[in-house]
Amino acid sequence: MKELNLQQTMDMLMEVCRAVIQSKQLLTEVDSNIGDGDHGIGMAGGMEKAKAALAEGAPFADINTLFKTTGMAMINTMGGASGIIFGSMFLGGLKGLEPITVLDGNTFTRMMRGALSAIKARGKAEMGDKTMVDALEPAVLAMEKLPDADWVTLMRAAADAAKTGVENTKMFVAKFGKAQYLGERAIGFQDAGATSVFIIFNAMYEFVRLH
């Protein structure tokens, strides 16, 4: 499969929502270890709202609006660091993008590169700062190495890279978010936001694999 149509893209985003909502408990625990424990509530709440907004907004005219709806729902219900950061993951790639009704891998890769830039501009985090950037940036790099790949190949690579990124966060001291105050004591624990990035790409992979 090389292209997703509007309905498929919508279904994939719905799948992402469901996967994150199902991971509420896991994300809570991960954030409790070195943060304030609200990442699961926040992400699940944001995704609930995104799901509802997608269901309510359908039918959509283009894929851009799908992503915008998801991102805005997250920013405006979650608040917090992750609302704006993860909202930007869906919004940040839309700038300058003409309205599209089919989504190919190259476009998606460009969107994620745009999202990464937006997130780094907003949050100032770089690789190694123990944030979701540590999962998103490797995923984007992995996708960029696979131009014109089919969706399954692309998403497997993205999810794998994100997973490695999550593992890597265990080695880092945090520079942002509530774990920063832990200093060395954060070492050994994975970052909550990075975990969410993996869950998102993995849900996309599972979706394209089964369709």
Binding site: G42, N76, G177
Partner: protein, 334 residues
Amino acid sequence: MKKIINDGQNVVAEMLSGYLSAYSRYYERVGNSNAFTYKNRRKHKVSIVIGGGSGHEPLFIGFVGKGLADAAACGNIFASPNPELIMKTAQAVDEGCGVLFLYGCYAGDNMNFDMAEELCALEDIQTAHVRIWDDCASAPKERKETRRGIAGDVYVIKVAAAAADAGYPLDEVVRIAEKARDNINTIGLATSPGSIPGLDKPTFELGADEIEFGMGLHGEPGIERTKMQPAAQLVNRMYDELKKEMLLQAGQQIAVLVNGLGSTTLLELNIVYHELAKHLTADGLDVHDVEINQFCTCQEMGGFSITILKLDEELKRFYDTACYSPYYAREALA
């Protein structure tokens, strides 16, 4: 965790519904959002908008009112409000004299308020912000812009709001708020965790006989975990930190806030001040005013913080004005 709630998702909306209907005399909701304004605010002045994560009540809801902020935007529990909510709140109180955002320095708040300012610019609302970073246990002095904002928020809000009420222009209110901010430090200690409504595990764990100095308002780790000690020793340690950090000297005029984090009682907080007063007297500090209360909490967390504000004549002038909200009321000081 036995919490008196209906549903973990709706706590902030329901809390505000209760607060705003109980105190409808004073407040008005912004649309049906989790933000509200003070009805009787002075007009033609710089507007003060505060906000942040909920769960720290009475902060922020209790610091909107006469001589205080004009509006508050309330995020979910421990999560910054979102940019649109903040922008709408600013819009609701903007008098064309500019809006000053005051909030604690946390990654989430910083990003959401930044984006809100971008949205405000699109609406032609002039804005500025002062981030509050009083918790001197959260980072060394050289990186104070990364410190957390905790109970010191109260003083910055009080002083900035008084300056705005006095008719100062935006850049002046910013200057005064920053001056207050730069003259405030806080240090806390936790004896037991709070819990997020709807979750059944507390936000962190502490041994039955352990306490932690410098722990943050969401259970972020502090500077030292020790065995429980008598009040006198706890206060000694905390005062030492503040004294070093703030270079406190005889004759310096200060205001002091002993703040309970949730379940620590007024009985205990007053005993804390009983101990603290001994140090302040011994060091010859000129104590202008003291508050002993629960202003900035972390749900039912046990523990307290001590905040000191160094006053000069200008800050004192704004400190001394009367203010009123259901949770923070003071007559004008002579």
